[in-house]
């Protein structure tokens, strides 16, 4: 089985390349990137082959590719891979517009290749434990969920410059585009129910720096068909001196009680000799590895992956509704027409 990565624009490519290499029977053939400086940098850093064009990589006929371009550039590469019969794992969010997300789903469907969306939190061990409790019915009717997916300004946790995270066109927005989809996807999965309404308030108080024109703070309210409601704090509200990049938390309240989830809390605090501030060192299981394992297994077994392109599409729909609501200052009904 041969796999490759398309672009190192997204920092997660740096995790996925190691995840691919860790799987027995997988040959990581290299990566394509149309930015020569970035291509040469990461080819040297990871001692791997760099393809200067995506076409050159596709010509190698890998079994599957992981797309890690800027958010707005997933679609053409997914279409290119699908047309060549190559399975696709796309970084989240699947796309920056609903039309692009739909086109990606349709292209892969037409070609009969799997399309998976990179929602690694579904493979987090504490996250899976909560799913089991919910499926057991112990929480009874679910009332609501208070969730956060906060972070620092994304460029603070990448050594290589990746300024596109605050580019409205390339990223699809700011904090809301970056930090809504993980929780939204988990809630759809947990509840087995779709979002029927979105309300959002966004602001730009954190990181008022030159070149940052996108929202950096946001509170989102989702209503689900099962009657539950949930909020997501998607803010880049963690300061540069925070001990880690950010986090994701959920508190689920139902008639049966309360479940709290903080999957990034499997950490120890390190006060390093030369470090200006304490750091949280994560020691929990690696959800990225489990996610890449699933992608490889789905390709090998010629089956649909545990998370589909449709899941990615539904998350993009929620993000689009977030921006529509923030603009209109009204709740927005889903599905979007």
């Amino acid at each position: 089985m041969r796999f490759a990565i398309m672009s190192f624009a997204h920092l997660h490519a740096e995790a996925y390349i190691n995840n691919l290499r860790a799987i027995p029977g997988v040959e990581m053939i290299g990566f394509a990137d149309d930015d020569p400086a970035r291509g040469q940098h990461f080819a040297a850093l990871y001692n791997t082959r760099w393809f200067p064009t995506y076409e050159a990589l596709i010509a190698e006929k890998p079994d599957g590719v992981i797309i890690c371009t800027e958010n707005a550039r997933h679609r053409p590469l997914a279409e290119m891979a699908a047309a060549a019969g190559i399975a696709v794992l796309s970084e989240k969010p699947l796309a920056t517009t609903l039309a692009d997300a739909q086109a990606m789903v349709e292209a892969c469907q037409r070609a009969g290749v799997p399309l998976m969306t990179a929602f690694p939190m579904r493979f987090s061990a504490p996250v899976i434990e909560v799913k089991k409790v919910l499926d057991s019915g112990a929480l009874g009717t679910i009332y609501g969920c208070n969730a956060t997916n906060q972070g620092q300004l994304p460029r603070l946790h990448t050594a290589y410059p990746r300024d596109w995270f605050v580019d409205k066109e390339l990223a699809g927005g700011g904090a809301a585009a970056d930090h809504t989809v993980h929780v939204a996807d988990l809630l759809r999965w947990y509840f087995g129910s779709e979002v029927t309404e979105v309300y959002a308030e966004l602001n730009h108080i954190f990181y008022q720096e030159p070149g940052i024109e996108v929202e950096t703070g946001g509170l989102i309210m989702l209503s689900f068909a099962n009657g539950a409601f949930a909020t997501i704090d998607c803010s880049w509200s963690k300061p540069p001196h925070y001990p880690t990049w950010g986090g994701l938390t959920m508190e689920l309240v139902g008639e049966g009680g309360l479940i709290t989830l903080d999957p990034f809390r499997q950490v120890m605090t390190v006060y390093g000799k030369d470090a200006p501030r304490p750091r949280w060192a994560y020691w929990g299981s690696d959800p990225n590895q489990a996610m890449i394992n699933e992608f490889v297994a789905a390709v090998k077994e010629k089956r649909a992956p545990a998370i589909t392109g449709y899941d990615g599409y539904k998350a993009v729909e929620i993000v689009e509704a977030v921006y529509r609501s923030a603009l209109s200052r009204q709740p927005v009904a889903l599905p979007l027409s």
């Binding site: 208070n146 308030e201 602001n203 954190f206 703070g217 509170l219 909020t231 704090d233 508190e251």
Partner: protein, 328 residues
């Protein structure tokens, strides 16, 4: 020195009595329908029992109203008419119109009206506000506040569960954090909220989430509920600014933990935060009110604050009911 009397002898009446007993004020006595509770207060803090509110008012300079919420309005009017200064438990009144009338009556009568939003006196909340005011975290961007307990279960007359009397969980409990959010981040422009009660009127307890936008652009997330298994009660605060962050997660600063095989826990009637402090925040609050009344100190909570937060709480109730954003 002035004379003070307390109306109502439940949890808040007894907390306030404990507070007044630690001030130079003379705690003259109590008016309550529950004579057994009054007898306990007399035994502990002195004073006597008054058969009517009028009789109590005639004997005091200050009345402290600790009755169920729906009784605040008539009692404030009655006290103001007699020219007595007033301390009143939160929420100020059961409706906004009642609060406006109460403010106007107190203004005309020239009496002080102090609203007991005790959260402003809890040391962690007061400290966080001071940190923000000192500019340590820069301009406030997002405030997150949590206050969730089990459903109150008073053995007799559980007025908390009677919406006519208490206004429900949003008015009784979430109002603490609406007030704190407004104190920290300024006036509120709009509210969007969802509650279990508005969607499922038959549900036990309640649970609600609210998103506030402040006029300065800051956002607040308020979580409230009577939804946890007893005796669980959790609060938390987080204030993120453009230069820093204050985090105080639920249960993060528990200085002691006692695990006994025989505990009598699990049967509390209502949830009151356990903060092992040398001075109870309710006592801090009453001592402050004493300073305001005796020495004309500026109040930490004004009657106008009590009215403003009532408007926010009712906007949340309205939003949860209609599904719409409510502007203030």
């Amino acid at each position: 020195m002035f004379r003070v009397g307390i109306v109502g002898s439940g949890f808040m009446g007894s907390f306030h009595a404990a507070g007044w007993s630690q001030t130079p004020a003379e705690l003259v006595g109590y008016h309550s329908l529950d004579q057994a509770q009054v007898n306990k207060l007399i035994e502990r803090y002195g004073g006597r029992s008054f058969p009517t509110l009028d009789a109590l008012l005639d004997a005091v300079d200050v009345v402290d109203i600790c009755t169920p919420t729906h009784l605040h309005h008539p009692m404030i009017l009655q006290a103001a008419a007699k020219g007595k200064h007033i301390v009143c438990e939160k929420p100020l009144t059961r409706t906004v119109a009642q609060a406006e009338e109460a403010l106007s009556a107190c203004r005309s009568a020239g009496v002080k009206l102090l609203v007991a939003h005790v959260v402003r006196f809890f040391p962690e909340y007061a400290q966080a506000k001071a940190i923000v005011d000192r500019g340590e975290i820069g301009r406030v961007g997002v405030v997150r506040l949590k206050r969730v307990s089990f459903q109150p279960r008073l053995a007799a007359d559980n007025w908390f569960l009677d919406t006519e009397k208490s206004g429900g969980m949003i008015l009784d409990l979430m109002i603490h954090d609406f007030d704190y959010a407004r104190w920290v981040a300024g006036e509120v422009e709009s509210v969007f909220a969802k509650s279990v009660r508005s969607a499922r009127p038959d549900a036990a307890g309640d649970y609600a989430l609210a998103i506030l936008r402040h006029t300065n652009g800051a956002l607040s997330h308020i979580e409230g509920g009577w939804a946890y298994p007893p005796p669980m009660f959790r609060t938390s605060l987080e204030i993120a600014g453009d230069g820093g962050l204050i985090e105080h997660p639920a249960g993060s600063s528990v200085p002691l933990s006692i695990h006994l095989k025989e505990s009598g826990q699990g049967d509390a009637e209502i949830a009151v935060p356990a903060s092992p402090l040398l001075e109870d925040p309710y006592v801090t609050e009453i001592k402050h009110f004493y300073d305001v009344l005796a020495h004309d100190a500026p109040p930490r909570v004004t009657a106008e604050d009590g009215l403003a937060v009532l408007k926010i709480a009712f906007a949340a109730v309205e939003s949860a009911r209609t599904g719409q954003r409510v502007t203030l």
